[in-house]
């Protein structure tokens, strides 16, 4: 199977080509209901994670909301 390499929070991981962001996060055991996602320095709205596919060399970061003040 063809795989591509992407960076998730600074760690290189391998995913099959045509993997959606959502499938990638699930494979990494990330809790989808507690994070925002940025790809290449730009926010990717959560409602599109199931459609948007990982691309080779994507730099992806995930983080939670900070609500305190």
């Amino acid at each position: 199977m063809n795989e591509i390499s992407i960076s998730l929070n600074g760690q290189l991981i391998q995913v099959p080509v045509s993997t959606s962001l959502e499938a990638m996060l699930e494979a990494q055991a990330v809790a989808l209901d507690s994070i925002a996602l940025v790809r290449g320095g730009e926010v990717v709205p959560k409602s599109t994670w199931s459609e948007v596919e990982c691309q080779a060399d994507d730099v992806i970061e995930i983080f939670g909301v900070v609500a305190g003040g």
């Binding site: 709205p45 959560k46 983080f63 909301v65 900070v66 609500a67 003040g69």
Partner: protein, 264 residues
Amino acid sequence: MALDDKAFIQYSRQIMLPEVGEQGQQKLMQASVAIVGVGGLGQLCAQYLSAAGVGRLTLIDDDRVELSNLPRQMLFGQADCGQYKASVAAGRLKTGDCQVREKRVRLDDSNAQALLFNADLVLDCSDNFATRHSVNRACVALKKRHVVASAAQFSGQLMAFDLNEAPQLGCYHCLFPQELKVSESCSTIGVLGPMVGCMASMQSLLAIKLLLGLPGLGLLNRFDGLTGEMQRLKLRRDPDCAVCSAKETAVEVAQETASGDKNE
């Protein structure tokens, strides 16, 4: 309306900035800003904005000063414990040129639009996710400019939204939908005073820039207080956002989606 001599001297260090000038100072003096939450973030923003000569502030908070607030809420002292934060802060800041109104209520969906209706700019300085969403819903409904800051442990976030000038950035719900799980708040998770102060200072600076008409929209700033790193990330509207992408804005969204998404 020209500045009088006293105002000219008092605000001279601001006025000498080409980005401010006498005109900018007048803009500040005519501005009305609502501050939601007068805790670590809000008490400092209120001080900076009133000291900068902002004309009117509305301080919204139903909390009372507690001893454990003092390391990060330096507008308050031990003698203020048990008093309403909005009242203590208003009392301290009223002495200047700024008109300060206190609203000793908890902002929620039932009162948010009435509380924020007269503001030129809204600062979200609240300490919990539910209030942040109420502020956002009201700002979307009223099309108010809206600066959001937050801090917990060594993480800080800062961003601004303006559906009039920058609809493509969306709203707070586009970034952090209300279904998101969040457990932390300052009352349950540790934080250092200067960490909250950093975020409040950046929030105040961004607020003043927006009041002056300077650029400041478009980015989510993430500050890591341990490493000192600041990340600047581009915001993006969620075309399916339940809050800001309702029917009346469907045309705008369709246009943005057509011009934005297709080249990926």
